[in-house]
Amino acid sequence: MRYSIIASVLLAGAAALPAQDAVDFEKHVWPIFERSCIECHRAPYKDPQGLTRNPKGGLRLDGKGWIMLGSNNERVVKPGDPGDSLLYILTTLDSDDRDFMPRKRKALTLTEQSTLERWIKQGADFGAWVGTGGPQVGAEVAEREIVEVAVPIILKPVARLGEGLKPLKSSVIAKAAGKVGQITPAMNGSPLLRVAFHANEDLVTDKSMAGLMAVQDRVTHLILGRTKITDRALVSVARMKRLTRLDLRQTAVTDSGLRALTKLPELRSLNLYGTAITDRGLAHLATMPTLERITVWETKVTGEGVDKLRQALPKAKIVRVLVLPPPAKEGDGNNRRRRKKD
């Protein structure tokens, strides 16, 4: 950005080339390359000692194809965008910068810099000039650019739920988060929110929910794991109509608290790991067809309880047990001394 400001200020004084005119590569840009760049950035050649000199950084500027190919795997000209073109960026750095180019010659004059900038901005057109030619710019490069545009925007539940909503004012969000909460968008560009309390779990109680009510219709992920909340907080949580993920792991919630959650129309993931939930509590969830994932490890839920819920929610994944590898034994690979080579 700052380069373009400098360049445009100075442009007024650059009489050699009127500001509106199209830059002609051969007439205006090539002489700059010839004077300042070509000594290092040209085809490999034998120096007087008979050693082969390769172009520095793998970059050749003596042909159209070479220029567009760029340096070792790196593009140096992005047509239309001087700010993302290394050719322009490196030649407009401060001359004491270690990346500065040209390294062996005097810096480009400000007029030359602005000519280069405008040439790139106007689309890096070479006109009829091809110089020594060079490769057709990689088929692979071209193909990848197309893929970038063609990737569809996949609108899944969080995106759908957020449709038509405008993002909230930052002051509203800051107030809702209070001193202990963290509120971020559920994903890039979504007006829906993720609320978490990492690092402050011990300070979060049922009262902490009050602040969140101002954004209740925006919360789609609520991470309350390891906080000090109880069933009373779940009454507030039940008002969050766009809630898809609720993490209550290692909290004091009980069976009766879960009943309130049945009002949540979009809940997909519920984490109850390390709570005192029993089969009775789990039974409340049977009326929630949106549930895709329920975690009840280290609760009082039994295998029968899970089986029953599975009949009501055949598609949901319910995790109750943790199957770990058996404890490592001698000879299982750990801490074993390296085998002697025979």
């Binding site: 270690r98 968008p185 943790l322 690979g333 750990n334 080579k341």
Partner: protein, 431 residues
């Protein structure tokens, strides 16, 4: 993170965008909203269901052989004595030394079409971590630094980026030191030197801190720069951490013996256990490094040694994260700098040499559709013949899983543009 801090974090362009955005009430809290604007405007913006929040990145340093782990070729001349077993994923076979992991393959996507351009360790590891090839003129930032820079920290007290057991090429590069990883040498030791020494009273400690602040005042007022602020912030963060109850996240002794035993008592197992504890406490990016995969000699004997600890640690990690309900939000990555030659070098005791052309990595959790292998090599594991995934593509895929914008350009202090995964394209079909 306060609004004020976010304001400072933003680079110049975003800062301007922030001001105008705030005026039109477009923005919320956290670092993400700054970027969300750009993402909405961009036609290439990629949106997906419930992005992951954390990454556990297991790095097999030295070059993990693909033919003897996740890209087995039973019957091929290049296979050697390695045997394949069926897994819980239909049609996905892995090495018989990964017997516990075979039951978790329904949670995993194997990438059998990885390809790198770097065949030496230093360059290969640098490339894997930064998506850029090493250059003399710039130090690139590694993935964990990018993730924290673009996504913000989850836990404001703990560091957002922790490495366990090494990682020489893992640095914040040109980014401020606030984005550098916190290195843990031995996972058993936890976070060394994180408590106040007994010989210094609390009063003395704070008197000293006040003195430092006073001495720094004039300087930091005169040089209001990101780099200067970053040093002060590092001090503040350290002091905050010293008084935090979250320090317990670093203490794996708090784990029951059954869990510790399941992860295994090697460095990798202990590192994975520590990583799980850190992710539970909201650390965004944890890298665990396992060394010794450079099997030029006796590749098959080495695999008998190396694979069981990986099998155990990774299986325990996936099961444990799943049972805690954390696997949906945690992307587990198994990566390495390159594969190993399909040809077995008889003259060097049945070894395999460096082979960047084709290798395997693995993704699990974090919203991936487990139970599949993506990409293919030919019947001898020599060439990628389907869905090639270049190194920057893998990192773009990780960024995509986290809902971070792969097209966002940040500029180094010298004004050069960089992206989280260079020009990598995410593999979106595995989500």
């Amino acid at each position: 993170m306060t609004l004020r801090e976010i304001f400072h974090d933003a680079d110049d362009v975003s800062r301007r965008g922030f001001l105008s955005g705030a005026a039109s009430t477009m923005l919320g809290l956290g670092a993400m909203p700054l970027l969300s604007q750009a993402a909405v405007a961009s036609p290439a913006a990629l949106l997906r269901k419930s992005p992951a929040k954390n990454v556990i990145y297991l790095f097999m340093s030295g070059g993990m052989t693909h033919l003897d782990t996740f890209d087995v070729k039973p019957g091929a001349a290049t296979q050697g004595p390695t045997e394949a077993i069926q897994t819980s994923a239909d049609g996905v076979r892995i090495s018989s030394h990964l017997k516990y992991l075979s039951r978790h393959m329904d949670k995993c996507v194997v990438l059998n079409s990885m390809s790198s351009t770097q065949g030496a360790h230093a360059q290969g590891q640098y490339f894997m971590h930064t998506s850029y090839e090493p250059r003399g003129t710039i130090a690139h930032a590694s993935l964990g630094s990018w993730v924290n820079r673009l996504g913000g920290r989850l836990n404001q007290t703990l560091p957002g980026y922790v490495t366990v057991g090494g990682g020489r090429y893992v640095t914040a590069g040109w980014m401020e030191s606030a984005y550098a990883p916190l290195p843990i040498g031995d996972p058993e030791d936890g976070l060394a030197n994180s408590t106040r020494a007994d010989t210094i009273s609390d009063k003395d400690f704070h008197r000293r801190l006040d003195r430092v602040a006073k001495m720094n005042k004039a300087f930091s007022e005169r040089f209001k720069q990101k780099q200067v602020r970053s040093y002060t912030e590092m001090y503040d963060q350290a002091v905050k951490l010293m008084g935090s109850t979250d320090l317990r996240a670093f203490d794996i002794d708090k784990e029951p013996d059954a869990i510790k035993g399941a992860y295994g008592d090697g460095r990798l197992g202990r590192g994975c256990l520590l990583a799980r504890r850190l992710v539970e406490h909201g650390v965004r990016f944890v890298e665990v490094v396992s060394g010794g995969w450079d099997t030029h000699n006796d590749n098959f004997g080495e695999m008998e040694e190396k694979l069981p600890p990986l099998d155990r640690a990774l299986s325990a990690l996936l099961a444990d994260l799943d049972a805690r309900g954390l696997l949906e939000e945690t992307l587990v990555v198994v990566a390495t700098e390159f594969g190993r030659t399909p040809d077995i070098t008889a003259n060097r005791g049945n070894g395999r040499n460096h082979y960047p052309k084709a290798f395997s990595c693995l993704l699990a959790g974090g919203g991936v559709q487990g139970g599949q292998a993506y990409g293919k090599t030919d019947p001898e594991g020599r060439e990628v013949i389907e869905n090639k995934v270049l190194v920057p593509d893998l990192n773009a895929t990780i960024a995509y899983a986290l809902g971070l914008p792969t097209d966002k350009v940040l500029h180094s202090p010298s004004g050069r543009p960089f992206q989280i995964a260079h020009k990598g394209k995410p593999v979106t079909s595995i989500f």
